[in-house]
């Protein structure tokens, strides 16, 4: 009986991996030869919505000034703009920088938080209560938006169905080391192919929590951001789709971000994402399937996106399962030529699906030599299997031990003082 269960589990893992490989290829082929939907940045309209730009900051003295100056350089009617940098329990010079900038620029209205829970969801919730605009644009403290970004993001809310918009983040510190270069490749695949293909195919592009925006009324009607959730962006994405709204992706609204330069920091970041995302999975699984607003394709894509941080867990347990079966002498799982062909085909094509996607993204971005680093992503994926599984176990704890709140783990900044 145990052997049968182990064998069935191996087959289940193979099936899951095949489904995700197919998904990778579907998206990649769409970006290479499929129909590309326009985003709204080509609209020029004299009637723009009023916007509040929120920038959560915790101990961000290295980057705060540069980030606010970049937002001030953005072209948007000043009468329709307010910038709310949120000093979230900072213990460094962030507060002084914000006050100094506010004294110089009327549109900057800092919000200082010294009480209550620390972390991005709590900070955004407080800011939503003081924001004056219907449309909220969010940037992380280390992000440097281009001059047209605010207009290009805000214009999407002219569409009555749009609940949130997401732009593209581009790593700025790619030169630092091998890890930053690998993260650059991963980001390219995620945005240039994955997000854009989901936009093209009327599926579920994801709001990523920064370089994006959402309707303030909607966030408030959902009770604000759930402070137990470490992936408040994914949580909002699913709340919106389930309730009939859309998230649109703006591939040409690009913004530089800093990516982790050490494996340790990256592991912590991935673990936090996994924990948060898997918590969201438990939270919205049923709602997604029951939503009357979503098409079947949207539900399927939503399901695959919702469970994406579960895949490494399946993979790791599948490998352990295979090893156990090997030592039990039970590796002959199904006696069929078709199965052999399936496994051989998967080995030839399925394993390479994410690499193909990232290579295609580099091609679309017009860069070439960096794809020589693709094989090194294998080591990065191995790290992800472990850290994501760890995050999944934490999410299980959050779910079944009903933790009231999750500890927010701020990602370390690597920018040098001089650069700031």
């Amino acid at each position: 009986m145990v052997v049968l269960i182990l064998k069935l589990y191996v087959l289940l893992v193979v099936l899951i991996m095949a489904i995700y490989a197919t998904r990778h290829y579907r998206f990649t082929v769409n970006r290479l030869v499929g129909d590309q939907r326009l985003y709204y940045q080509d609209l020029i309209d004299s009637d723009l919505p009023r916007i509040s730009v929120l920038v959560p900051m915790h101990d961000e003295e290295k980057v705060a000034r540069q980030s606010l100056e970049a937002i001030l350089r953005c072209e948007y009617p000043r009468g329709l703009l307010e910038i709310i940098p949120i000093n979230d329990h900072s213990g460094d010079g962030t507060a002084a920088i914000l006050d100094e900038m506010a004294a110089k620029h009327d549109v900057i209205k800092p919000l200082h938080r010294h009480e209550g829970q620390r972390g991005k969801p709590a900070a955004l919730n407080d800011a939503l209560l003081v924001a004056a605009a219907d449309v909220i644009i969010v940037f992380d403290a280390d992000y440097l938006p281009a001059r047209g970004s605010l207009r290009d993001l805000a214009i999407s809310f002219k569409d009555p169905e749009v609940g949130a918009v997401m732009g593209r983040v581009v790593p700025v510190n790619t030169r630092a080391n091998l890890l930053t270069r690998l993260l650059d490749l991963e980001r390219s695949g995620g945005y240039q192919v994955d997000q854009q293909a989901r936009h093209n195919l009327h599926l579920m592009p994801q709001y990523g929590g920064t370089v994006g925006g959402f309707r303030r009324d909607l966030a408030l009607s959902f009770g604000g951001f759930d402070q137990r959730v470490l992936a408040e962006d994914t949580d909002l994405t699913y709340r919106l789709f389930i309730n009939g709204w859309k998230v649109v992706y703006a591939n040409r609204v690009e913004c530089f971000e800093e990516v982790p330069e050490t494996w340790e920091v990256r592991s912590r970041q991935i673990r936090r994402w996994s924990r948060g995302h898997n918590y969201v999975m438990f939270k919205h699984f049923g709602g997604l399937l029951r939503s009357p607003y979503l098409t079947r394709a949207e539900k399927l894509d939503g399901l695959l996106l919702l469970t994406i941080y579960l895949v490494p867990v399946f993979l790791l347990t599948g490998i352990l399962d295979s090893v156990a079966l090997f030592f039990m002498g039970e590796m002959q799982i199904i006696d069929s030529v078709l199965v052999f062909l399936f496994v051989a085909t998967y080995n030839s094509f399925g394993n390479f699906a994410p690499f193909y996607q990232i290579g295609t993204a580099s091609l679309l971005d017009g860069v070439t030599h960096r794809i020589r680093l693709l094989p090194f992503l294998m080591f990065y994926f191995l790290l992800n299997i472990w850290t994501i599984t760890h995050g999944f176990l934490q999410a299980l704890g959050d779910r079944f031990w009903r933790r009231k709140r999750a500890e927010w783990d701020k990602t370390k900044r690597f920018r040098k003082e001089a650069a700031a």
Binding site: W245, F256, R372
Partner: protein, 377 residues
């Protein structure tokens, strides 16, 4: 050595001590190991070279100064030329300047290009510019006063600080940018972009990709038409009531017809086709998953976001923008936007304009844009 290889290749100890035959076997094992190691390394070799001697390690380029500006091409060309000439007030004649590369600029007080002439340098006219029939110029033209381009002329691009008139069949390869009004003759081709600070009037058969004008209008234009005032801001329900899409907008699954003379005053999302009948009024923005048709005389006071194609019938008007992932066709007498507003018409596959059409702002298509007045006048 043999022992080390034996240890590496996991050969049994007896094999190591079994004389010459074992030596050969160990060598084979070493060869096998070496080949295996090499094959493991091969996929990483290009990457190792990239790490050792990086050729592509910089961030992806992001244009931090990018702002959507329909007159960007003309403005940047003028600015480049102004910097290169540094306020040159000298006599007319030929100069050599450095733009993106070293270029010849011919400066004229007044430029008259004879019919059929072929110009190969940048031409700057401080006064009026007249280009004769079928003349060609494969560099930019810049007129600081008005410009008149003769029938069949073929130009690379034209910047003009006054008014401009293009004759029949003029072809512009790249862009046209004019500070005043522009008349474009029949069967002309306007390249990637044509922009005017004043009106941009297009005759029958003109083809285009991007247009900007105040307004963009077609032959037979009969002046602005009075539209009802903009509706008051939509009365949003209480924040806590807006949760589902249907709290804010009317959602219709399937096709919908707004009947003749009816008025609809909520944002509208239609998961099918939408037809707004004659003299019907939709006060708010519509999102349509199928096609949108405005029958003659129909009125849409908000924007139209459409996944399918859009047809705006004779005399119908859209006060907001039209955005279609397919094609847009504006019938005779159609109006988009209103004086004092800037609005857009975006049709991914095509934009077709009939006679007496006016668009206050911007027109864009990734496919084919054309004016077809015959049969509509």
């Amino acid at each position: 050595m043999t022992r080390r290889l034996a240890g590496l290749s996991l050969l049994p100890a007896t094999a190591v001590t079994a004389g010459a035959a074992t030596h050969a076997l160990s060598f084979e094992a070493a060869l096998l190991l070496g080949a295996f190691g090499l094959l493991i390394l091969v996929p990483f070799m290009p990457g190792l070279i990239e790490i050792w001697r990086p050729r592509d390690r910089y961030p992806l380029p992001v244009d931090m100064d990018y702002v959507k500006d329909p007159r960007h091409l003309g403005r940047s060309a003028r600015a480049l030329l102004a910097v290169a000439l540094r306020g040159d007030q000298g006599p007319a004649g030929r100069r050599t300047v450095t733009l993106s590369k070293v270029e010849a600029v011919e400066v004229h007080d007044r430029l008259d290009v004879s019919a059929g002439a072929n110009l190969s340098a940048i031409q700057l006219a401080r006064g009026p510019m007249v280009v004769g029939e079928r003349a060609t110029c494969d560099r930019d033209l810049y007129a600081r006063a008005g410009a008149r381009i003769g029938e069949g002329a073929v130009l690379r691009s034209l910047a003009c600080d006054g008014r401009a008139a293009l004759g029949r069949g003029v072809s512009i390869a790249r862009w046209l940018d004019v500070e005043g009004d522009v008349h474009v003759g029949p069967q002309s081709h306007l390249g990637a972009s044509a922009a005017a600070a004043g009106f941009l009037e297009l005759a029958d058969g003109v083809t285009f990709e991007r247009l900007w004008g105040s307004p963009v209008r077609t032959t037979g234009y009969r002046g602005p038409r009075e539209l009802p005032p903009a509706p008051a801001p939509f009365a949003l329900p209480d924040v806590l009531e807006i949760r589902d899409l249907e709290d804010l907008a009317s959602l219709h699954r399937g096709d919908l017809v707004v009947g003749p003379g009816e008025t609809f005053d909520r944002p509208l999302v239609v998961r099918g086709d939408l037809r707004i009948e004659t003299d019907a009024v939709v006060d708010r923005t519509v999102k349509v998953y199928g096609d949108l048709t405005l029958a003659p005389g129909a009125l849409l006071l908000g924007d139209a976001f459409v996944e399918g194609s859009v047809f705006v019938g004779e005399g119908a008007a859209v006060r907001g923008c039209i955005f279609s992932q397919d094609s847009v066709e504006l019938g005779r007498g159609a109006r988009v936007g209103a004086p004092g507003l800037v609005k857009s018409v975006v049709g991914k596959r095509s934009v077709t304009l009939a006679g007496d059409v006016a668009i206050h702002g911007y027109v864009l298509t990734d496919g084919r844009g054309c004016v077809i007045c015959r049969g509509s006048d």
